[in-house]
């Protein structure tokens, strides 16, 4: 066991996948010689050569389209978008083709590929380097969307994503890339996609979060605990498909829930989760379901990005209102 950052853990997952399976190829801008602008793909080109670790020309649509072709041919491409904010140039390939290849060819072809991309705010970056637009991908039928929250699950989820028979969009919370270390087992580990995990048990209120909002949500739960409120915290890990069963079970138990994400609230994942819970668990609810999200604006330049992001204070404030609500 070693204590790794998320960057190191994801790097380990890529090394392991490439070691185990020569169908796995890594492609993207600056992923080879440079080792990735975050050093996430560091050492891969030295270990596996430039036939398998491909520094591409600068064109996101081509990277995604090439990955689709590779996947159709039977390989397992892991493509990188340097930032999620630049993945929209590839969006047509992902929506029009990756998401539809199995469906359109009636099962003859498929696109088992992973498209990794750092997302989210909090690292004092430039415009387009801070957004969370997971809704675009989660809204697209035929794509899976995974968001790890720590080094250990990042490594295990990436391993599963690479093995998955369908296209997986892998959102990496860049604010957590180096923010903490965690024990990561030496032996390969995987985690089923489509499964959430209960990070902390409680019975008063359910707090649902993912990615870089998880640590802040846990902080809020700690703060509530010091006032005697037992919050249950759920880490979604896969946004699409959502693990309805885990969410329902918790919300039926607590009767109150808050969903936290840094993406703008309107038309975001929290809205979808709330709709599902209302549909399935309405009679178990004791208060309106609430969300704590980013505002419906672009992430401001970095002097204000922390004011944009939900923090433990906001989560606690909304939790208090939810706890005080009486039908």
């Amino acid at each position: 066991m070693a204590e790794l950052t998320m960057i190191e853990a994801l790097n380990k997952a890529l090394h392991e996948a490439m070691e185990a399976d020569d169908r796995v190829l890594v492609l993207g801008e600056d992923v080879g010689v440079d080792g990735g602008i975050f050093r996430l793909t560091q050492g891969l080109i030295e270990s596996f050569g430039e036939e398998r670790v491909i520094d591409t020309p600068l064109a996101e649509s081509a990277i995604a389209g090439m990955a689709i072709g590779l996947a159709i041919y039977g390989l397992r491409p892991v493509a990188e978008m340097q930032f999620s904010g630049f993945s929209y140039l590839a969006f047509n390939q992902l929506e029009a083709h990756a998401a539809r290849m199995r469906w359109r060819s009636q099962g003859r072809f498929s696109a088992p590929m992973v498209v990794r991309m750092p997302y989210g705010a909090g690292v004092r970056a430039l415009e387009h380097h801070s957004e969370s637009r997971e809704a675009y991908y989660a809204h697209t039928p035929g794509l899976k969307l995974v968001v790890p929250s720590g080094p250990r699950n990042a490594r295990a989820l990436l391993a599963s994503a690479i093995e998955d028979p369908d296209p997986v969009i892998f959102f990496e919370p860049k604010a957590l890339y180096r923010s903490f270390r965690e024990e990561v087992p030496d032996d390969p580990e995987s985690l089923a996609l489509g499964k959430a995990r209960v990070v902390r048990e409680g019975s008063d209120i359910t707090l649902i979060a993912y990615g870089a909002m998880l640590p802040r949500t846990i902080e809020a739960a700690d703060s509530l605990a010091s006032d005697g409120v037992e919050a249950e915290v759920i880490d979604l890990m896969t946004i699409s498909p959502i693990d309805d069963a885990t969410l329902e079970e918790s919300v039926r138990k607590c009767g109150r829930a808050i969903i936290v994400h840094e993406a703008p609230g309107s038309f975001g994942p929290a809205g979808e989760i709330i709709a599902r819970l209302v549909e399935t668990s309405f009679y178990h609810l004791e208060a309106p379901l609430r969300r704590v999200t980013g505002f419906d604006i672009h992430v401001p330049y970095f002097a204000r990005e922390q004011a944009y992001l939900p923090d433990a204070d906001r989560i606690v404030a909304v939790a208090r209102e939810t706890l005080d609500a009486r039908a």
């Binding site: 600056d30 600068l58 505002f295 330049y301 404030a317």
Partner: protein
């Protein structure tokens, strides 16, 4: 049916006027008076010193990530100087020199790079778009503006800036194709600085030049010594004139070099040799211009010192003003400004919720202090 060779126009010129020793090719030298000549040097030096100050403030943690311009001053000043104030500039993120020439205040640039959206304000009189970070996407806007100019029978032209890496993007080719089809008055100005972060120019494309990409669209393409301000100026004047006269677009490839890091988040030692950088240091654009101007007695030690002092003072005053101004920029609510012309009710509610949270946080802090 025959099979035969057809001959499309495949000619690409290379233009250089001012060599590294500071000597010029008299025949090709554009007409410039003494004031213009020293003006070019002043503008390039001003950009160089400003860039150095940005880097230094960034390293002190006072500014965020930015893309230095060092080495590309001639490509930017030579091209932007060929424009009228009423012409349009469509920049990427590295056009500090060009924007300073256009009148963008240093204070605004400091404020922008310190992470405040307010720094991005553009004067009503300035036809310059804000910086565009998604690589290779903005030439399309340049083409669209140019088409609008044609529609209105205006006599302005547009210059779109981008790098060597950008020429791999579909958007770039689409912009070139549309501009050619519609004969839009636009100049595509590629600063081939040899690198797209860690990807070298020859990995970006197998084409011998970037200028030749114009030929596929039946558009003139020219390669110039991008560290030679006169060659860039001459080529841009020619292209701008053609565009203004209804002759359509041009692609100019300025062969230059990024002497600094890609951005302050980058470590070039991972992918390029110091020897290569040293080679290009010798070809850098300011020194040769200085030599030439010295040979004309337009510059000497004393004049240069005066220039340096002026520039230094301007930069320090702008930084002081920006720092003072930023102390007043405490209201995070401005992040809601300018999203729409008319704010939808939902946004107003969110603006108010932010105020409420901030007020509550402040109260808690005050309480903690009094306890």
């Amino acid at each position: 049916m025959p099979r035969m060779t057809i001959k499309p126009n495949t000619q690409v010129d290379y233009l250089g006027i001012l060599d590294e020793a500071g000597e010029i090719d008299e025949d090709r030298m554009p007409e410039l008076d003494d004031e213009q000549l020293t003006g070019f040097y002043r503008a390039m030096l001003r950009a160089r010193r400003f860039d150095e100050r940005l880097l230094n403030l960034q390293r002190q943690g006072k500014l965020g990530t930015f893309a230095p311009v060092k080495g590309q001053e001639a490509a930017q000043i030579g091209s932007v100087a060929a424009l009228r104030d009423s012409d349009w500039v469509v920049p990427s993120y590295r056009e500090t020199a060009a924007l300073l020439w256009r009148g963008t205040p240093m204070q605004g640039l400091f404020t922008l790079l310190a992470g405040y959206n307010e720094g991005g304000q553009i004067a009503d009189t300035q036809n310059d778009l804000p910086q565009s970070i998604p690589v290779g996407t903005q030439p399309l806007h340049a083409m669209g503006i140019a088409h609008g100019i044609r529609y209105r029978a205006d006599d302005a032209v547009v210059v779109s800036y981008f790098g060597d890496g950008a020429t791999s993007q579909g958007d770039f080719h689409e912009a070139m194709n549309f501009a050619s089809v519609f004969r839009s008055p636009v100049v595509f100005l590629c600063q081939n600085n040899q690198w797209a972060i860690s990807v070298p120019r020859d990995r970006q494309t197998r084409s011998a030049t970037l200028a030749q990409k114009a030929l596929a669209y039946d558009m003139p393409g020219i390669q110039v010594d991008g560290n030679d301000v006169f060659a860039v100026y001459a080529a841009t004047c020619e292209a701008v004139e053609r565009a203004r006269d209804g002759g359509g677009p041009t692609l100019i490839e300025c062969v230059t070099y990024r002497l600094e890091v890609h951005t302050t988040a980058d470590d070039p030692t991972r992918y390029r040799d110091e020897e290569e950088v040293e080679k290009w240091e010798k070809r850098e654009p300011l020194l040769r211009l200085r030599r030439y101007l010295e040979s004309l007695d337009l510059l000497d030690e004393e004049k240069i010192e005066a220039l340096e002092n002026d520039i230094k003072q301007e930069i320090e005053e702008a930084w002081k003003a920006a720092s003072a101004d930023m102390e007043q920029l405490t209201d995070p609510g401005v992040m809601f400004d300018h999203l729409f012309a008319q704010e939808p009710p939902r946004l107003t509610e969110q603006r108010e919720a932010l105020q409420k949270w901030d007020a509550a946080k402040q109260r808690r802090r005050d309480d903690e202090e009094t306890q």
